[in-house]
């Protein structure tokens, strides 16, 4: 990592505290607290319906209309993101904090040349002239690995591949050198060799620009590849968090442990019956009382009807929300 970012490393940059989001009266995100630290990559991992994307969207107040924040605060370096005016927030989006999504082609304006979409934030936030903005946008497109950037800048999204469009999105998100980049499943729609390129690019930008990244994913491989810190979500709550090394080497929540064990591994025994997690993710209106993983957990007992809070597990800063965290090693 570059020396200038190393100094700031580890300081809290984004703090989400006690965030709850309700849809139709159900708390689909329930008391989520997370910290993204300067110069580091935080992965929020979980399956569909776990609340990871809603959590990510809420940071820049991009929630769908049906979803409402009912509790909690989100603080970006001293700015209360949930309290400031829409105008003030507009000054932050694309400037101090940016977001990229899964489907680059759906996020880009199909009627606008891609160069102009990258320039937009510079003109808006930095007051650059069109000519200056154009020059910087082309340089940015080149630095995210778009060959022949000057010509590409004049093209429309449909003329570019999915991987190229995601690079354009990243260029637009990073053009103002944001302190924070939120990436919601940024490579899920891409082929694996293109995914490798994009993940590599994001890591390099973190190293060069010092941008902190919050990456949302369902893919444990992507987490292992990218993350310094991990928060595992299930049923709208964080069930485990810690450094990536700790969470992967000594998962302290049964869900994390089983999830890692169900994935076929490149070094595993072929054709063996795989470990499974019983049942399915319950729909949001059917979460059990207390621990929400209870209905699928082999360690379940009476105490699990009471909600377990995140408590320290082995390893610095490692926490898990499980009454039986001391017994998870029995599982796999």
């Amino acid at each position: 990592m570059a020396a200038d970012t190393a100094a700031r490393d580890g300081e809290p940059l984004l703090a989400i505290d006690g965030l709850s989001i309700a849809i139709a009266g159900v708390d689909v995100v329930d008391g989520v607290s997370l910290t993204a630290r300067a110069g580091r990559i935080l992965a929020i991992v979980g399956e569909s319906g776990c609340g990871k994307s809603l959590t990510a969207l809420s940071i820049l107040r991009l929630l769908p209309k049906a979803a409402r924040i009912v509790a909690g605060t989100i603080d970006l370096e001293g700015t209360d993101l949930l309290g400031i005016s829409d105008d003030a927030l507009q000054g932050i989006r694309g400037n101090r904090a940016s977001i990229i999504f899964q489907e680059p082609i759906a996020s880009l304006n199909p009627l606008m040349r891609v160069g102009a979409q990258v320039e937009e934030a510079l003109i808006l936030h930095r007051g650059l002239s069109g000519k200056e903005a154009r020059r910087e946008a082309v340089a940015m497109l080149a630095s995210v690995g778009i060959p022949d950037a000057e010509r590409r800048a004049r093209q429309y999204p449909f003329e570019l591949s999915g991987g190229m469009c995601q690079r354009v999105m990243i260029a637009a998100a990073l053009i103002c050198r944001p302190r924070l980049l939120i990436a919601d499943e940024p490579t899920t729609a891409l082929d694996v060799t293109i995914q490798a390129q994009i993940l590599d690019l994001m890591k390099r930008l973190r190293d060069d620009v010092g941008t902190s990244i919050v990456i949302i994913t369902h893919d444990m491989g992507v987490v292992a590849e990218m993350a310094d810190d991990v928060a595992v979500m299930y049923g709208g709550r964080v069930v485990e968090s810690g450094t990536a090394d700790t969470v992967f080497s000594a998962p302290a929540h049964p869900y994390t442990r089983l999830l890692l064990a169900t994935v076929p591994r490149l070094d595993g025994h072929r054709k063996e019956i795989l470990r499974t997690i019983e049942g399915m993710v319950p729909s949001v209106d059917q979460w059990p009382q207390g621990c929400r993983f209870r209905s699928r957990c082999p360690l379940e007992s009476d105490i699990c009807a009471t909600r377990p809070l995140l408590s320290p597990a082995d390893g610095a800063g490692h926490t898990a929300a499980c009454w039986h965290a001391d017994r998870v090693a029995e599982l796999v």
Partner: protein, 339 residues
């Protein structure tokens, strides 16, 4: 069971599509691929979007017309059957698609959906009801689910229903087109286990289409790596994953993120430059030439054919698997253009 007897034998299969618009070319979605699927075995077609793996499957199952080549199923040529003969063949080969929600009629009960192929074949109600109960049981669902509609089921349960329907007529071959890709991670292993158990119990052959190499390594006996409508490399699964020789296979395997941060950091990654070439305008020589880290001059002009390599796979690569015999390559080692 004779594991070596091919149930399905594909020879030099081509599926070309006319391109619309001004240039009037053809897209060679599948351009000369050959492989066999033995009885009771799993052969996987892998590759990225546009490589032709799904088109190959659709050609075999009869959902796309084949341009040329031969498809021999259980001893008979099936690539040019008429509609009726094709329909009769449905008793012997079935397909399972990626998204079970799109594959089930939301207005039909689960029982009706599973029974549909039986009804088409003229089964009486008393018989098909019994068969539906058997099938539900086989795929691990309560028989009472026959009365439910798909919206009452989870994604994993729906995929079990789709598998039950595919098994209704006791086929010999299942084409599995990304069968777990649309499912939640915690559900995938349940379905993979089910598929492995069914194969063992029923002696099914699988043609397994996937972009997920970890899954493919786990379930397949043989792997065929496709790139731009052609086979880049093929081999027995263990050998191919342990000793890939084609630079594309190597990049593909190295691009899979391992769910283990320490192992991931320790690993050497090959990051390919650039995108897949447009299928409208593929390279003249090796299809992989535009992204290949080890290409040499002749690769621009000569299309490599599959050749055995010493590590046990077959690869289409002039550098790693030069054809036997003189005159096929310049005598002197060619200059490596890009390392």
């Amino acid at each position: 069971m004779n594991a070596a007897r091919p149930l399905l034998s594909v020879r030099d299969l081509r599926v070309h599509f006319p391109a619309h618009g001004s240039d009037k070319g053809v897209v060679k979605a599948v351009d000369g691929i050959s492989f066999e699927v033995p009885v009771g075995r799993t052969v996987a077609l892998v590759g990225e979007s546009g490589c032709g793996k799904s088109t190959t499957a659709y050609g075999i199952i009869g959902l796309e017309s084949v341009t040329s080549g031969s498809i021999i199923f259980d001893g008979r040529e099936i690539s040019r059957l008429d509609h009726q003969a094709r329909r009769a063949l449905a008793t012997e080969m079935q397909i399972v698609f990626q998204d079970p929600s799109a594959a089930l009629n939301p207005k039909m009960t689960i029982g009706e959906s599973i029974a549909e192929p039986l009804i088409v074949q003229g089964w009486r109600k008393a018989d098909w009801r019994k068969r539906v109960a058997e099938l539900l049981d086989r795929v691990g669902l309560p028989t009472a689910y026959a009365e439910r509609t798909p919206n009452a089921l989870s994604g994993g349960q729906r995929q079990r229903v789709v598998i039950a329907r595919a098994l209704a007529l006791s086929p010999k071959l299942l084409v599995l087109d990304e069968p777990v890709s649309a499912l939640d991670v915690s559900i995938r292993s349940q379905i993979l286990n089910l598929l492995m158990v069914l194969q063992k119990e029923l002696g099914l052959a699988y043609l397994f289409i996937s972009h997920d190499l970890s899954v493919v390594r786990h379930v397949a006996d043989e792997v065929i790596v496709m790139y731009l409508g052609t086979v880049a490399e093929r081999g027995e699964t263990g050998v191919l994953f342990d000793h890939p020789r084609h630079p594309y296979t190597q990049a593909l395997i190295s691009a899979i993120p391992l769910p283990d941060p320490r192992a991931q950091r320790a690993r050497e990654r090959i990051i390919l430059k650039g995108d897949l070439p447009s299928p409208f305008n593929p390279p003249a020589g090796c299809p992989f030439v535009s992204r290949c880290p080890i290409r040499i001059e002749p690769c621009d002009a000569i299309r490599p054919t599959l050749q055995p390599v010493e590590t046990g796979t077959e690869a289409a690569c002039l550098v790693r698997a030069p054809a036997a015999g003189p005159a096929s390559l310049p005598a002197a080692p060619a200059k490596v253009l890009s390392a």
